[in-house]
C-alpha cells in the first residue's frame, strides 16, 4: 500500500518537513481533498508581488504550515501552476518546558511566589514539581534563604519583597517572535536550560508558474472503468506516476535453488540421450556399494569413520548367488586377466547395510541387469540423487549431498570417447576449457580428474571425476569382454554454490536455509 501511495503522490517522499509526523504520501492525499486551501493560497499568490512565503501564507490563512506544504505539493503536481522554491531559515522557538515557563513563570519565580511570609518547610517545597530546580536557582538569585536550625526542620523564607522574572520575560519575547531583541549569550543560556531551541524551518517561496490560474482542476489518480465507458478520460488530467518506486511483489511460491540446478542437469543429460536411473534406494548393501565395484573390503572408504552403517536392518538378505561367487573370486583370487587383491573376502562384510556412499551403487545394479539381457544393447544412464558420508562437517561438507553421475556402456569405447563426452557435457554447462589429470579410483582404470580453467581465479580447478570401469567390475557381471563402460561424477552442491554465490552449504541445504535467498534466487541457466 505504501508503494502505491508513494507512486501516486509524486515526489513527496524525498524531503521531510519539520514536525512532519505523518507519512508524506498521506499529506498529498489529504490536502488534495482540501481544495479550499489550494484556492485561497492561489489567490494570495495572485495578489502578491513576486511571491509569498509558505510560512507567512500559513500564518495569514490561519492554518498549520504542513497544510500549506501539502497544498504546494499538490499544486506542483498539477504542472506549472506555481513555482515553488525551497528555502530554509533558522529561528528560535520555545521548547515544551519553555512554553510552560512563558505561561506560568520560571521555576525560581514560582518557588518565590509559593513561599508565604511566614516561610515554608523545605521538605514541603521539594514536593512541588518545580521545587528542586527552582529552589537552587532562587537561592543563587538571593531571593530566598534557608533557616536550617528552624524548629521542625529547615524552613525557607523570602529575602526580598518582590522579584522580576527575567527568564519569563525573555521567553515571552521569543514567543511573540521578537527573538532578535535578545543577544546570543542570553539565547544560549536559555538553550542550555532547555527552554529555547533553535529550529530550522523549511518553507517554500511560492510564485506564479507559467500556467498560473486561481482555479484548479482535480487530477485523477487512476483510470477507472467509468472513464473508459464514458470517454471522460480524454478530458481528465492524471497524476504522474513515481517510476522510482518499486512495484508490488507478486504473491507466489518458489523452487529451491539446488533443485533448479538439478532440473537443468537433468535437462542436459536428457538432451544428450541419457536415461535416468532409479536411484530411489538410499539404503544399499556393502556388496553393491563396494564389492561389486571391486573396492576391496579393507578400503578406507569402508571404515566406520567414512560410511554410515545400519544397525536395523543391519544385513542385506539376498544377492544373485552366482554373481556373488564371481565377485568373491575376483577379489580374493583374481581372474578375468586380473591378479585380484588376494585377501580373504568375507560375505559378512558384503552383507552389511549402509547408506549408500555414491550413486555408482545403482550404476552397478543397472550394469548387472544389463548383463542379464538376452543381448547386450548400448546404454547411456544418468542419475542425480543423494549420497551419504559419515564425514566431519564444515562450510562446504555435509553428511549428505547430491551426486551427479553419467554412465555410457557400449562396445569399444575409448578413453578419448570419455574425454569427448565430458567435453560435450561441460560445454553445456558453459565450461569449454577442460583438461584431464591421471588419478586413482578403485573401480576405474584409467581414472581421470577433470579440471576446468576458472577465468575468475585464473587457475585450473577440479570439476569432476571420471574413468573407465575396471574389467574386474564388469566381467563378473557378465558383460561382454569388448564392452567398455565410461563414467563420470560430480557434486550438485558445488556448482550451485558457485552459481548462486553461497559460501556456507548450510544456507543452501537443510532446514537452516535462508528462505529469503530461496525467494530471491534467479532462474538457473547453467551456460550463461
Amino acid at each position: 500500500m505504501a508503494d502505491v501511495l508513494a507512486r501516486r503522490s509524486c515526489g513527496l517522499g524525498h524531503v521531510r518537513f519539520e514536525k512532519t509526523t505523518s507519512h508524506p504520501a498521506s499529506i498529498g492525499a489529504s490536502s488534495m481533498a482540501d481544495t479550499g486551501v489550494l484556492e485561497a493560497l492561489l489567490q494570495r499568490v495572485e495578489k502578491a508581488d513576486g511571491g509569498v512565503d509558505s510560512l507567512a501564507a500559513a500564518a495569514g490563512l490561519g492554518v498549520d504550515h504542513q497544510v500549506i506544504v501539502g497544498a504546494v505539493k499538490s499544486l506542483q503536481a498539477l504542472g506549472d501552476v506555481i513555482s515553488a522554491e525551497l528555502r530554509s531559515s533558522k529561528h528560535w522557538e520555545l521548547t515544551e518546558e519553555g512554553t510552560e515557563t512563558a505561561e506560568q513563570g520560571s521555576h525560581e519565580a514560582r518557588v518565590f511566589s509559593s513561599i508565604p511570609a511566614e516561610g515554608l518547610p523545605q521538605a514541603e517545597l521539594m514536593k512541588l514539581s518545580f521545587g528542586k530546580i527552582g529552589f537552587s536557582k532562587a537561592m543563587s538569585n538571593n531571593w530566598i534563604r534557608v533557616d536550617k536550625s528552624h524548629e521542625g526542620g529547615p524552613r525557607i523564607f523570602r529575602t526580598v519583597e518582590s522579584i522580576q522574572d527575567q527568564v519569563r520575560e525573555k521567553l515571552l519575547l521569543v514567543k511573540r517572535g521578537d527573538a532578535a531583541q535578545l543577544d546570543e549569550k542570553e539565547k544560549n543560556e536559555l538553550k542550555k536550560r532547555k527552554l529555547l531551541a533553535e529550529v530550522t524551518v523549511k518553507s517554500y517561496w511560492i510564485a506564479k508558474g507559467s500556467s498560473f490560474s486561481t482555479t484548479i482542476t482535480k487530477q485523477e489518480t487512476e483510470l477507472t472503468p467509468e472513464m473508459i465507458a464514458t470517454g471522460s478520460w480524454k478530458e481528465k488530467k492524471f497524476k504522474p506516476y513515481n517510476f522510482e518506486a518499486m512495484g508490488v511483489a507478486p504473491d507466489c511460491g518458489h523452487l529451491h535453488p539446488l533443485m533448479k540446478v538439478r532440473t537443468q542437469f537433468r535437462q542436459i543429460f536428457l538432451e544428450m540421450g541419457f536415461s535416468e536411473m532409479p536411484t530411489n534406494n538410499f539404503i544399499e548393501s556393502s556388496f553393491w556399494n563396494f564389492d561389486s565395484l571391486f573396492q576391496p573390503q579393507q578400503h578406507p572408504a569402508r571404515d566406520q569413520h567414512d560410511t554410515f552403517f545400519l544397525s536395523d536392518p543391519a544385513l542385506a538378505q539376498e544377492f544373485p548367488p552366482e554373481y556373488l561367487e564371481r565377485v568373491k573370486k575376483v577379489h580374493s583370487e583374481g581372474g578375468y586377466g586380473s591378479q585380484g587383491y588376494k585377501y580373504d573376502w568375507k560375505i559378512e562384510e558384503a552383507r552389511k547395510n549402509i547408506l549408500r556412499t555414491h550413486t555408482t551403487a545403482v550404476s552397478a545394479r543397472m550394469l548387472y541387469k544389463l548383463a542379464q539381457q538376452e543381448k547386450f544393447t548400448p546404454v547411456k544412464y544418468f542419475s542425480i540423487d543423494r549420497v551419504f558420508r559419515n564425514e566431519t562437517l564444515d562450510a562446504t561438507h555435509l553428511a549428505e549431498f547430491h551426486q551427479i553421475e553419467g554412465v555410457v556402456a557400449d562396445y569399444g569405447l575409448t578413453l578419448g570417447d570419455l574425454m569427448g563426452v565430458l567435453h560435450q557435457f561441460f560445454t553445456k554447462l558453459g565450461i569449454t576449457k577442460l583438461r584431464f589429470k591421471p588419478a586413482y579410483n578403485p573401480y576405474t582404470e584409467p581414472s581421470m580428474e577433470v579440471f576446468s580453467y576458472h577465468e575468475g581465479l585464473k587457475k585450473w580447478v577440479e570439476v569432476g571425476n571420471s574413468g573407465v570401469f575396471r574389467p574386474e567390475m564388469l566381467l563378473p557381471m557378465g558383460l561382454p569382454e569388448d564392452v567398455s563402460v565410461i563414467a563420470w561424477g560430480l557434486s550438485l552442491e558445488r556448482p550451485t554454490m558457485i552459481k548462486y554465490g553461497i559460501n556456507n552449504i548450510r544456507e543452501l541445504v537443510g532446514h537452516k536455509v535462508n528462505l529469503q535467498m530461496v525467494y530471491d534466487s534467479p532462474i538457473c541457466r547453467l551456460d550463461s
Binding site: 539404503i283 544399499e284 548367488p321 578413453l415 589429470k437 532446514h511
Partner: protein
Amino acid sequence: MPTVGVKRDFLFNALGRTYTDEEFDELCFEFGLELDEITSEKEIISREQGDSKASGASDLILYKIDVPANRYDLLCLEGLVRGLQVFKNKLEAPRYRRVSPDGGEPQRLIITKETAAVRPHAVAAVLRNITFTQERYDSFIELQEKLHQNICRKRSLVAIGTHDLDAISGPFTYTAKAPGDICFRPLNQTKEYTAIQLMSLYKTDSHLRHYLPIIEDKPVYPVIYDSNGVVLSMPPIINGDHSRISLQTKNVFIECTATDLTKAKIVLDMMVTMFSEYCAQPFTVEQAEVVYPDGKTCVYPELAYRKEKLSGEFVNRKVGIRESTDRIAQLLTRMCLLSQPTGVGDEIEVEIPPTRPDVIHACDIMEDAAIAYGFNNITRTTPLTYTVANQFPLNKLTELLRQDLAAAGFTEALNFALCSQEDIADKLGKKISETRAIHISNPKTAEFQVARTTLLPGLLKTVAANRKMPLPLKLFEISDVVLKDESKDVGARNSRRFCAIYYNKTPGFEVIHGLLDRTMQLLDVKPARGEGYHIQAADDSTFFPGRCAEIFVGGKSVGRLGVLHPDVVSRFELTMPCSALEMDVEPFLGFTAEVLLTHDVPMQETFKHQFPARSQSRPALPSRPPTTKTVFGDMSSQAGLEALDGFLADRSYMEGFTASQADAAVFDAIPSPPPRAFCHLRRWWSHIKSFQTERARLPPAKSQFVLPPAPPASDAGEDDVDLFGSDDEEESTEAARIREQRLADYAAKKSKKPALVAKSSILLDVKPWDDETDMAKLEECVRSVAMEGLLWGQAKLVPVGYGIRKLQIGCVVEDEKVGTDLLEEAITAFEEYVQSVDVAAFNKI
C-alpha cells in the same frame, strides 16, 4: 589421497635441475600427482602454533605433493625422484636384487604358533652397509609412517619395525605372550615397562593411542625377541629402544608383522626398494628367512618381477590412439614398466617391477601407456552410441508436480534425509517403534540416528529457522523417506512423499485442504468416494484432536492432513498454529508405456552371453541367509486369503507400482472371487481381473509369491524358497519341471474360465412419425426385436417439441453378435410407427 612433503631444493638436486613452481606443477599434473601446497616448516609451525614458536624453524621451501592412493612407490622423495626421472627419460628404472649375505647364514625370523591368535604373519629383510644422512634418515622414518597410514590401514594390517642389526643377534623369534609376560624398554623411554603398563602409558599418547585397540582386547600380544631375549618390538605398537636405528646405523633389520600377508610383502618390498639405493651395493637387499610354525621356510623380500604380455592394438583400442608397438613399449618403459615388443605380431612383453603392486590387470598397463602418452594429447572423440533417453517416471512426475506446487504459492524446501529419532517420533507425538525407521549404528551426532520416515519435521525445522520471515509461511517438499521393507533385498526402501505446511496466525486448514484439492486436480483425480479421492476424519497423535483427516484415493489411504497438535508445534519451537499435509506420491504414477527401470536386480541369472566360467563347480556359500520371500499359503483357505488381504492393505500390486505376472500368478491361485470382508484383496482382485485381456503382456514377476503344489516327497518348509541354492543339473531339471507344471496349471485354469466377451451399452433414440403415434405400441415393437446377445434395458419418453415425444431406450449388446446397423434396420422395419433411429450414446463395457 596421501600427501608427501619434500624439501624443494633436495628434490631439484635429486632431479638434476630446477623448475619454477608452475613448471613443477605442470610436471606433476602430467604424471598424475598434484602439487597441493608450497610452504615451509616455518610457515606450518607459525600457522599451527603461532609466530613465536616458528622463529627458529627452517625457511626451506617444502612441496606438499598429493600422491594417488595406490602408488606406494611414490610416498617418499627417493621414489618420487626415481619415478619422475624415469618418466622424463633421464634414468633407467633400477633393477632390485635380492642377495645372500656375504659368507654366513641369512638372518632368520622364527614364527611361533601363538601368533595365530593375534597377528599371524611376518616377513623380514636386511639392508646391508647403508649410509644414512639426516635427510635420508628422516625420509626413511617418514616412509614407514606413510605406509602405516595407507596400505597398512593404520597398522591394523601391517606394522613395520626397523632395527639396528648390529645391536641384536639372530635368530629372531616372533611370538605372542600374555601382556603381563612382556617386559622391555620401549623406544624413547628410560625404563622398562610391561605390556600392560605400556598400554596405559600410551593411552594418552596423541600418536600411539590410535593403535592400541588393534591388540588391546587380545589374550596375547605379539612380540619379537632376538636370540638373547632382547625385545625388538611389540607390534603394532612400539619398537624396543635397544635396537633403535640412528644416523650411524650401518645394517638395518626390517620386519613387518601382519594380518594380511599380501600387504606385508608389498610393504617390505617398498621399504627395501626405496632405501637399498643407499646401500654399499645399491639396489641390493640381503634376504632373510622366515620359518613358519609348521616348519616351512620362506625367503624374503620377494622382489618379484612379473611378466605380462599384451598387444599394442589393445592399448590403442582402449585409449583411442594409433601408436606403433615400439612406441607403446617406450611409453610403458617410461612408467617403470620395462617393455619390449616380442616380435610376434604386435605383442609387447611388459615387466612389472616389485615397486608396482598396483598393476594387477592389463588395464593398469594400458593406463600407464595413456599417462606416458599424455592424457591431454589424446584426441577427444564422440562415441556413436545411439540411445533414446527415458526419464525415471517417479522423478518425471515429481518434477512436474514441483513446478505446479510452486505456482500454487508454496515454496520448496530441501531437508536432510537423516535426522534424530526425536524428530520423527517424540516431537511428533509418536513412538519410534511405530515409525518403521531404519537405524544408523555409527552416528557421530544425534542428527544422524535414523533416516526420516516423514518429511514433516524437516519442514517444521525450516519454519523454525525462518521465524523472522513474514507470515504466512507456505512450504512444500517432494522427496524420499526411508521405510523398513522386508520384501527388499536390503530390508528397506525409499518412498516418495509430498508434504506441505501452512504456518500463520490462524491454522489455515482450508488452505492446506485447498492445496490437496489442487494437487488432486493436477493429478487428474476427481473428488469422489470410490474411484476418486475423499478425506475422512482420522485420529493421529501428531494432529490436534478432531482436526485430522485421512486422504483416500480409490478407496486406499495415501496420507493425512490436518491442524498440528499444539504440543508438536511447541516441540519444534514454534508459536503459531500450523496445518500440514503429507501423502504418498507413488500411487499416482499410473501406467507408463516406457520400459520401467528399477534398481531391483534379478536374483537368478538368465544371461545368454555368459563369460566362460573358469571353474566348473562353484562352491556353495558358507552360510545361507534366511529368505524373505512372502508366500501366503493356500489361497483356497481363509487364512491364506487373510494374509494376502493384509499384504495388500497398503499396496496396489504384488510388486512395485504396476501390475505384473506376480499379480497374475496370485490372481490365478485364488479359486473364487474373494469374500467382501477382505476389502483390500477384493479391490486388488477386481483390478487385476480387468487386466485379463492384456495379462500376457504384463512385465515378468521379480519374486515368487505363490508356491507351486509341493511335490509329495518334499518335506521342506512351505515358505522357505531356497534362493542361494546351487544351480547344478538336478535342480535345474527340478526348476524346469516346476515351471512346466505351473504353465500347465495356468493353461488348465485358463481353459476353464469362460472367454471374456466384449460388450457395449447403447442408448437409442427412436422417433415416431407424429404426435398421434402410439408410443406404448412403438416401445412394444422395439422390445420385440430379439437377437442373440441383445438385452433391452430401461426406456423413457422424452419430449421433442409440438407434443411429439421420442422413445429413448437402452440396451446391452455383445459386440461380436449385434451391430448397431443391424439394430437400426430391425427397428426401422416397424415403419408404421418408426420414423428414424439414432444412436444417442455408445459405450464399451
